[in-house]
């Protein structure tokens, strides 16, 4: 997760302590430095959803799937996550609000010292539910909207889904719950990006997360609507330009990019072009501390049945099941060849990623997309949109010493 607003506009935000080693310089409360060593855990509470979205990485369905972790099993897992020092649990799905024990689990996470946040389509959030979530200790609700009303409803498989999500957003805002947009950029909605921000900002929203399509679940079946490298570059440039324009007007929106660490390299290039070399260096240093793609390191996933995954998008491979072994034990076990290699991926990356000058702030991007397209988890990310020159020219930010020929 890359905070565009932080990097380009120096905006303080509560999550910066997790994304960067910026806790000391931020004016807002930060998650402690010690806890940053542990992953953020996404928990897909259920596979059931009231919508049927084209891009769903969890391949959620309208029917409840068998084998969901029970309330008691979930609490045992939260105990383990708390003992292990997991800072944040992202309650997700399916649609997490279809589970009637959601507030109970959020309250329990709060009691254990875990910061509970929510990923939802927002359509089931009423005023009462928003207040219950807030009282249970929920710190943030990320609500998915994937375009203006018509495009969103078609993508999400239900007429009226946009309006229902908007009601959910307003219910959360009215309850005093920090709320943000989740928006997966595809060919269907790239052109709506600025309009949706404008529309929702008028409603009171000030946090906007833009996701790249990952190739997991049903997301793997819609690669044909994924952006071309040129379109992707244009979309990210739009996010950067838009963020600066809002801030120049005194409207301090928070904007974030998720799921493609070529964005990290692009942020440095963008900063150099528009803000100067000194800012570009600062951006680079922040992103170095951020650590690049977090798969198998700073993010983990537990699905509705308790299977542990390397990220929420990579549901096709599991390290094991929390019913058999605690999450903490699995996550600490580097004897798993794939987990071990992902944590030392610099030694395994191939192709243009192997000697890319931005490797330490990108770390190869999505290993799932590489696997899906190339059949090799260490091949280049097919979504990389950097130019050959950006990948290969000497790093202008960090002095790497004389060329071997000198």
């Amino acid at each position: 997760m890359i905070s565009v607003s932080k990097l380009l506009c120096d905006l303080d935000a509560e999550g910066d302590g997790l994304r960067y080693d910026a806790a000391d310089e931020s004016g807002k409360p930060q998650i402690t430095e010690e806890k940053q060593r542990r992953p953020v855990v996404v928990w897909n509470l259920t596979k059931q959803c009231n919508l049927y979205c084209d891009h769903c990485y969890a391949a959620a369905d309208t029917e409840c799937a068998p084998g969901e972790l029970s309330t008691a099993e979930g609490k045992r897992m939260l105990d383990d996550l708390a003992d292990y020092g997991v800072p944040v649990v992202l309650f997700s799905g399916g649609e997490p609000l279809v589970r009637d024990d959601l507030t109970e689990l959020i309250a329990y996470a709060t009691e254990q010292g875990i910061r509970p946040v929510l990923s939802t389509n927002g359509t089931l959030i009423t005023e009462d539910i928003a207040h219950e979530l807030k009282e249970a200790g929920l710190k943030y609700a990320g609500i998915s909207v994937d375009g203006l009303p018509e495009a969103n409803d078609e993508f999400r498989g239900q007429e009226g889904a946009f309006d229902a999500a908007l009601r959910g957003i307003n219910a959360c805002l009215d309850a005093g719950l920090k709320t943000g947009l989740r928006y997966t950029i595809t060919k269907h909605n790239a052109d709506d990006l600025e309009s949706i921000v404008s529309m929702l900002h008028e409603e009171g929203l000030d946090r906007f997360c833009f996701y790249h399509l990952d190739y997991g679940g049903r997301g793997n079946e819609i690669q044909d609507v994924d952006l071309t490298p040129g379109e992707r570059r244009e979309a990210i440039e739009t996010v950067c330009d838009m963020t600066r324009e809002y801030h120049d007007r005194g409207e301090e929106i928070e904007t974030l990019l998720v799921g493609n660490y070529a964005d990290a390299a692009y942020m440095v290039e963008y900063a150099r072009e528009h803000l100067g070399e000194e800012t570009a260096e600062r951006v680079y240093r922040y992103l170095q501390a951020n650590g690049g793609d977090p798969t198998g390191e700073r993010v983990a996933d537990v699905d509705y049945q308790g299977n542990v995954h390397l990220t929420q998008f990579w549901q096709g491979y599991s390290l094991g099941n929390v019913r058999d072994r605690p999450f903490s034990a699995m996550w600490e076990d580097d004897s798993n060849p794939l987990l071990g290699a992902l944590r030392n991926r610099e030694a395994h990356l191939t192709g243009k990623c192997a000697d890319c000058k931005y490797q330490d702030i990108c770390r190869g991007g999505s290993r799932l997309r590489a696997l899906s397209v190339h059949g090799d988890p260490f091949a280049p990310d097919p979504q990389c949109y950097l130019t050959d020159a950006e990948v290969r020219e000497p790093n202008p930010v960090v002095d790497t010493g004389p060329e071997p020929a000198d």
């Binding site: 109970e104 679940g217 491979y317 599991s318 060849p337 988890p377 260490f378």
Partner: protein, 81 residues
């Protein structure tokens, strides 16, 4: 929202049933006996084999694939009660 205890798990037979069949992976290299290395979701053994090769083939000598729903899992101490 109702505070409710959800029904407990329906047991090991359903634990790993996801979009496709779940296949447990065991691997060995020159360092010792086979060890568990996670699981993959795949509709057939051939697809599971291809996935295992892609994910782990670069690092191990041998791979065993076992349908998760064919594995009998039990705790002997509880079984004898």
């Amino acid at each position: 929202m109702r505070m409710a205890e959800r029904a407990s798990s329906t047991g090991p037979k359903t634990v790993r049933a996801t979009t496709g069949r779940e296949w447990e992976l065991f691997v060995s290299d020159d360092e010792g006996p086979p060890r568990h290395a996670g699981s993959v979701s795949a509709p057939t053994a051939d697809v599971a084999r291809e996935q295992a090769r892609n994910l782990l083939g670069w690092s191990v000598d041998d791979v065993w694939l076992c349908p998760a729903d064919e594995v009998e899992r039990f705790s002997p101490s509880e079984d004898s009660r």
